[in-house]
Amino acid sequence: MYPRCDSVATSVVVWFLPMINWRSAERGKKCRNKRRNKGCHPIIKRVFESRGSALYLMALALAALVLPAQAQENPYIVAYDHYLEEPGSLEVEYFSTFGTQRSASDFHAFWAEFEYGATAWWTTELYLDGQTTFDDSTIFTGFRLENRFRLLQHEHFINPVFYFEYEQVSGADKILKEVEGHDVESDYTLPNALARKEHKHELEFKLLLSKTFKGWNMVENTIATKNLTGGDPWEFGYAIGASRPLALKASVNRCNFCRQNFIAGVEMYGGLGDRRSFGLHDTSHYLAPVVAWNLPSDWTLRLSPGFGLNDNSHRFLLRWGISREFSGFGATVSRLLGGRKPSR
């Protein structure tokens, strides 16, 4: 049997990631001010330019090597498939999005995600969002409560899941977890001090359709969003994706680098306008290869370079994330709250 590793070292890596990023933003600001006179830097170089980011990536690599054991998470960062969290399990996730920005400073948005499997047909999640705009500031931008409900008991040709989310975020939110309506790059140029004054209370509905066939997973998400503050119309968006493990059979030996631990694919997402002006005009769209590395210890690492497909889109989005699943979390909480032990 595989040991489940909950070492102090790995916990430290996960819980201090946001802190490292915070510090990297401060260092990065100083660094960039010095470098500005030397001209432009390549996009990738900018991601790695601060010592904090390098430490962060090293920590991820270390976590990957230290941990024994395996989850089977999809590689998507924006799109959803129809698989819900296992009942009673809590998945803690941390994601980053580095985005380039024309006519304003680039940004690094990040979010923590707590995903709990209430039942085999209901998964609920809490998101906490934040962002750093380079040469500006680092701020907390809001929270989201999300629920996903499996609509059919058995597997079918296409498997539908109903998604419902309430979000309370400021106008400075830049995680780009979904693109909807007429979201365009120029919406993100306001300085944080101004943008955070705008508050959004939003309801979001999605129909998630997903199918797995011969190892391939294909997803289609339709998004409808309503901002409860102001008279904004319903906004629409989409996300599609396809992915496949690099090997379909499991190997006999336990391994970190076996091909079946890697799932690669691609996702595409964008806005579809709103109720008053439905369509593709003044919308942004992205295409992003995705890869997930499911480590044999319930840890998952994801990486996704995304590319804007038109002039309304950010030119480049680099996303990465780390997640860890904690089985039996619900039972532990129940016991702490004085619940009875499940009978055998």
Binding site: Y2, Q70, E86, P87, T119, A120, E155, K249, G330, P342
Partner: protein, 147 residues
């Protein structure tokens, strides 16, 4: 702003406890001593139940299936597959006498109503490897915990 946000946050906090309560209610129900837990096996369509295990003669299938079982199934069905906190014994006669196709169907579709998730996210060969491993265990010598 704080005045309007507080009730929303309070409501959100209260609502966030609902899933915990619900999950415990549902999971404890699934672990009751209940023979009907094995009645799900009979629901497999005839065509699915008749499917042959393509990895039956694969010498590596049992070992690979054991690895997969340890990763994905032990949490509910126990390390020896004799039943765990949430799942029934897989070494019960009802399971061991079932065809590989039936077990594959259950694994693919889950028993969502009773808390078993669908496992179609595992590629088909991996699901057959798990089935091969379960069948290799044989019936338990002592009465299983899940029955």
């Amino acid at each position: 702003m704080i005045k309007t946000a507080s009730p929303i946050i309070l409501t959100a906090l209260v609502l966030s406890l609902v899933p915990f309560a619900w999950s415990q209610k549902e999971n404890s129900g699934a672990t009751k001593k209940d023979d009907s837990v094995y009645a799900e096996l009979a629901k497999a369509p005839r065509k699915a139940a008749a499917r042959r295990n393509p990895l039956e003669s694969d010498p590596d299938a049992v070992a690979a299936g054991a690895n997969l079982f340890a990763l994905h199934c032990v949490e509910c069905h126990g390390e020896t597959a004799e039943g765990g906190r949430k799942g029934p014994s897989l070494r019960a006669l009802e399971v061991q006498r079932s065809t590989p196709g039936t077990l594959f169907w259950i694994l693919t579709n889950g028993v969502v109503r009773r808390g078993m998730p669908v496992w179609s996210k595992l590629p088909e060969p991996q699901r057959w490897q798990i089935v091969t491993y379960i069948k290799s265990l044989g019936p338990a010598q002592t009465p299983p915990q899940g029955q």
